[in-house]
Amino acid sequence: MSNGFTPVVAGHALGSDAAAPATPKNVPHRGGPQNPSVDALRQQFAGAVVRASVTWGETTVVVDRARAHEIIQWLHDDPTQRYDYLSDVTAVEFRDFEQPIEVVWHLRSLPFRRFLRVKIEIVKGTAMEAPSVWDIYKSADWLERECYDMFGITFTGHPDLRRLLMWEQYKEGYPLRKDFPLRGRFSRSEQLRQALAANPEARYSKEELSIADAFEDLPGDMKRRLGTGEVTGE
């Protein structure tokens, strides 16, 4: 299935005379040295970089929503960038209703020892959509599902966008949104009734089990169940 495995030594692209990594000291709150990838992005994608800032030594770059996928693809592929590790996908909603919701990608370049935070902004009232980077980083799979589950952001291009933390029939909305009541929307008995109605054994989909490899090892009843095309949930 895999095309071989190339070990990556952290920082090897910096050359042998690069300084050994050390914990930075006296990092200013605002400002400081910017990640060189931002200037490269400005050159490569003219007009797509909305703004960039450095906070506590970490660089954040806000980019155009329509070109975000293209930009992350370039950051991953380009030999001068090589952001080969996606450490998180999440979203931020601010208390101020006027402020847009942000979708955040935390990228790490192991060969260059660089960290870059890429953001897009989704104005409230427009479609809650963001491009999926699953085709670039497979680790985005569950991260995007969690983000969809908690914030209701649809990642276009994700192969299997379902709820991850809450059960799939969950009807109350998206728990980390600011307009979501802490205790949920339904009464406790209604929440319990809906939770108990879920079948705890119908939790697997073909995708999760990667049936191509594991199907023969499954117990007979599950084989029958999946063979009829049943996916997950009720």
């Binding site: 208390r95 209703f97 933390l165 809450m166 059960w167 109350e172 728990p175 600011k178 307009d179 979501f180 009541p181 802490l182 205790r183 949920g184 009464s187 406790r188 008995s189 209604e190 929440q191 319990l192 009734r193 939770a195 108990l196 109605a197 879920a198 079948n199 705890p200």
Partner: protein, 206 residues
């Protein structure tokens, strides 16, 4: 060899002097049951760590007849629910309880299992007694091993006081087919009433 030959068991003569006692069947059965409970730990959070301490050598659960931890509900008669139970786990816990054969008991260990604890939010069941019947509630966050042992001893007293003439004891409770709940929805809503007005609470105050 200096040893007397082993007597043939069928040829032992009864002299009429063997000691014997009489007791109530209940007392005898309950004595056996309460001193050989097989607990199944259903550990979901930090209470499970405290449960492990209880089972380990310093506090030694085995002193109370619980040498064998059952990790299959089918071979257990005591469910110890240690930790918070999210709604997503509610049908799982219910299924595990239904898989346990009678006689069976349940200890709700810690504040979260007993009442939801500090997790008065959208994701956590406000007390497992809304899913399964509970015999003993152990308070604490998490309870110390002594607390759990005290709860277990309370349960042993409860087991010791059972009467076999009470046929309802071993009746399997059937949940209401419509709501799948053991107790009425209005009761659940009432006991999980919020403190203050937090039912309309949002993070932003919007």
């Amino acid at each position: 060899m200096g040893l007397s030959p082993r007597p043939e068991p069928n040829l032992i003569e009864t002299t009429g002097n063997e000691p014997w006692i009489t007791t109530k069947l209940d007392a005898f059965v309950n004595w056996g049951r309460k001193n050989s409970l097989w607990p199944m730990p259903f550990g979901t959070a930090c209470c499970a760590i405290e449960f492990m301490a209880t089972a380990a050598s310093k506090y030694d659960l085995a002193r109370f007849g619980m040498e064998r931890q059952a990790f299959s509900p089918r071979q257990a008669d005591l469910l110890i629910c240690a930790g918070r139970v999210p709604f997503k786990l509610a049908p799982v816990l219910r299924r595990i309880w239904q898989q346990m054969p009678q006689p069976k008991w349940c200890i709700s260990m810690g504040a979260c299992a007993s009442s939801g604890g500090m997790f008065d939010n959208y994701a956590v069941v406000q007390g497992i007694d809304s899913i399964i019947p509970v015999d003993v509630y152990v308070p604490g966050c998490p309870p110390r091993p002594e607390g759990l042992l005290y709860g277990i001893m309370m349960l042993q007293r409860k087991v010791g006081a059972e009467r076999s003439s009470d046929k309802s004891l071993r009746n399997e409770m059937e949940p209401d087919p419509k709501s799948q709940l053991y107790i009425a929805p209005s009761v659940i809503d009432e006991v999980s009433e919020p403190f203050g007005n937090s039912v309309h609470q949002t993070r932003s105050g919007l």
